[in-house]
């Protein structure tokens, strides 16, 4: 997703000289094309995220679209008040980009586990929030963010994720949920890079004779209500998966819509159960430890379907 983001943003840079990127002293190698091709439009703010995001709001006030790039919690929770007051409240055209959503930097420890960004950013009025599920969704999210003349959040995974979408989605509406696999027994919903696990879980369920629909939500705010209402009419059980805290997160957003709909569909949420991580390991390992890898999603869904 990281590389897909860079490709997509370079396309925007090529056609719009009012687009700039600020990095919080990160992106070694990754941002190299910007330094080489657009040295006047990439700024290193140093390891100073409050200054960086405030500066982004000021730069945006001079008629620019400003991408802010960092990893983990550094572009989100660290300068949260700058996102709230300086960016969102002022409608600043600032795009906060986090590389490493969830357990991407799993071995580095809790400080680098971005596990509360979905709840926290979702709570900010005026911030449109994206968490693409694969490289194709990432490439589609960037031009969509350019169309939104306001503050956005883009939660990315790492580099070299596998493609989940097999169809060309470049013309699809990335603000809407995307169905990757049709099903009849239950629906597995996810946002962000955990889509690979959700998709694989559906394959495992199929092997057990359970037909699971897989729906990706590359945009988690505003959430695609119509799709949720449609799903709630078709299924008795909806399972949500996210690589982060379930409290206030993507699953909560789904619950908010469905609880108010009165459709009476059961929802079960998979994610971090309101806790911090205390073990380290690679992303795949930690997904397993915390019950959100494909096998866990499969097993838990099968159990919930039984009753």
């Amino acid at each position: 997703m990281r590389d897909a983001f860079v490709r997509a943003l370079l396309r925007e840079f090529a056609v719009n000289d009012r687009v700039v990127i600020i990095t919080g002293d990160l992106g070694f190698g990754v941002l190299k094309p910007f330094w080489e091709q657009y040295p006047d439009r990439i700024i290193n703010a140093g390891i100073a995220e409050q200054g960086m995001v405030g500066m982004a709001a000021g730069l945006a006030a001079t008629g620019r679209t400003v991408f802010v790039y960092s990893i983990g919690n550094f572009p989100t929770i660290r300068p949260l008040e700058q996102i709230r007051n300086d960016c969102a409240y002022h409608g600043a055209d600032v795009k906060i980009v986090c590389v490493g959503g969830g357990f991407v930097y799993g071995s580095l420890g809790m400080s680098h586990h971005a596990t509360e960004d979905i709840p926290v950013l979702r709570a900010m009025p005026g911030v449109t929030c994206f968490a693409p599920g694969d490289p194709a969704e990432t490439e589609a999210a960037v031009p969509e963010m350019m169309k939104i003349r306001g503050t956005c959040y883009l939660r990315l995974g790492r580099g070299n994720e596998r493609a989940v979408h097999t169809d060309d989605i470049s013309g699809a509406d990335i603000m809407k949920a995307m169905t990757l696999r049709a099903g009849t027994d239950t629906a597995l919903l996810s946002t962000g890079g955990i889509l690979t696990e959700t998709y694989d879980a559906a394959e495992m369920l199929a092997a057990r004779g359970i037909s699971a629909e897989v729906v990706s939500f590359p945009c988690f705010k505003p959430i695609d209500r119509d799709k949720l209402l449609e799903l709630s009419r078709r299924f008795d059980l909806i399972v949500t998966a996210e690589e982060g805290n379930v409290t206030g997160g993507f699953g909560s957003a789904v619950c908010e819509v469905l609880a108010e709909s009165g459709n009476g569909c059961r929802v079960r949420r998979i994610g971090l159960d309101d806790r911090y991580t205390s073990v380290v390991g690679n992303q795949k390992y930690l997904r397993g430890v915390y019950g959100m890898d494909a096998k866990a999603i499969c097993d838990r869904t099968a159990a919930w379907l039984k009753g």
Partner: protein, 289 residues
């Protein structure tokens, strides 16, 4: 008597608000009245920053009330947002919006919030209130102006207690790194903050040295002497080309102008009512230019 007539009484006609001494006096007069009417706080901060704001809005800032969004205007951010009524008063007196509107400050449903707000208020660029936000945003604006080869400047007015915030020093590094000699910061150095003096909270001295060490041009001035302030801004503007931003450390007195408010932290919070209001008004009347 309507609000404008009340606050302009004694001038024998329309006050000459192009005179910084007159405007500073009116900022205090409005500060007193707005705090009195609303039972709002921070009058001590409004009084300490009065001359700084008055000088900025009488010839230093290139702004036009008939065209508040003109592209080449100077940008001014009040980072110590709690002194918002000083900026509201200056903007109203300079014609950005009706003086009469000042009486709504703090009131239910008012757009003139206690901390300075840009929403629906012509002339205010940025809403602040949480400290340490103005300088980073100003840094971004100044950087954008540089990138575009624009000649306008960015001004921001901060408090001294505000310099406790780490974001101030992040931006201080960044502004110097990016060579923002189109950025002018003024610090209302009244030596008092929310509970104690600055020295007894997080001491800033040697304050000038700190900014110099961060690569800034430093100007020290009396923050209540309008001629000295005007000269300081002229020097700051002349720093364009140095490749370094400028900070004006303006020595002020919290509560300046009313004897019993001066250097008393109580007046960071207290609102003048009854005899205190009358006494303050009497002292201000004696200072009328």
């Amino acid at each position: 008597m309507d609000y404008e007539a009340l606050t302009h009484a004694g001038f024998g006609g329309a006050p000459d608000v192009s005179d910084p001494k007159v405007l500073a006096w009116l900022i205090r007069r409005h500060g007193l009245e707005m705090s009195h009417l609303s039972r709002g706080s921070h009058i001590g901060s409004v009084f300490s920053v009065a001359e700084i704001i008055a000088v900025l809005y009488t010839g230093v800032l290139h702004v036009d009330p008939r065209d508040p969004k003109m592209p080449d205007r100077d940008r001014m951010i009040l980072s110590k947002g709690h002194a918002g009524s000083a900026v509201y008063a200056a903007l109203a007196e300079r014609g950005f919006f009706p003086v009469e509107q000042l009486k709504t400050h703090y009131a239910d449903g008012s757009i003139l919030s206690g901390h300075v707000s840009h929403k629906g208020v012509p002339g205010v660029e940025v809403s602040t209130g949480s400290l340490g936000h103005g300088l980073p945003v100003a840094t971004g604006m100044a950087l954008g102006a540089k990138m575009d080869g624009e000649t306008w400047r960015v001004y921001t007015v901060m408090g001294d207690g505000e310099c406790d915030e780490g974001s101030v020093w992040e931006a201080a590094l960044q502004a110097n790194q990016f060579g923002l000699d189109n950025l002018i910061v003024t610090i209302d150095y009244n030596h008092m903050q929310s509970l104690f003096t600055v020295a007894d909270t997080l001491a800033l001295e040697p304050f000038e040295d700190k900014w110099r060490a961060f690569g800034w041009n430093v100007i020290r001035t009396d923050g209540h002497d309008t001629e000295a302030l005007r000269a300081a801004y002229a020097r700051a503007c002349a720093n364009r080309g140095t490749g370094h931003p400028t900070v004006i450390i303006a020595d002020t007195v919290k509560g300046k102008g009313v004897s019993f408010m001066e250097n008393d932290i109580l007046w960071h919070y207290r609102t003048p009512q009854g005899e205190e209001y009358e006494a303050a008004l009497k002292e201000l009347e004696a200072l009328r230019p």
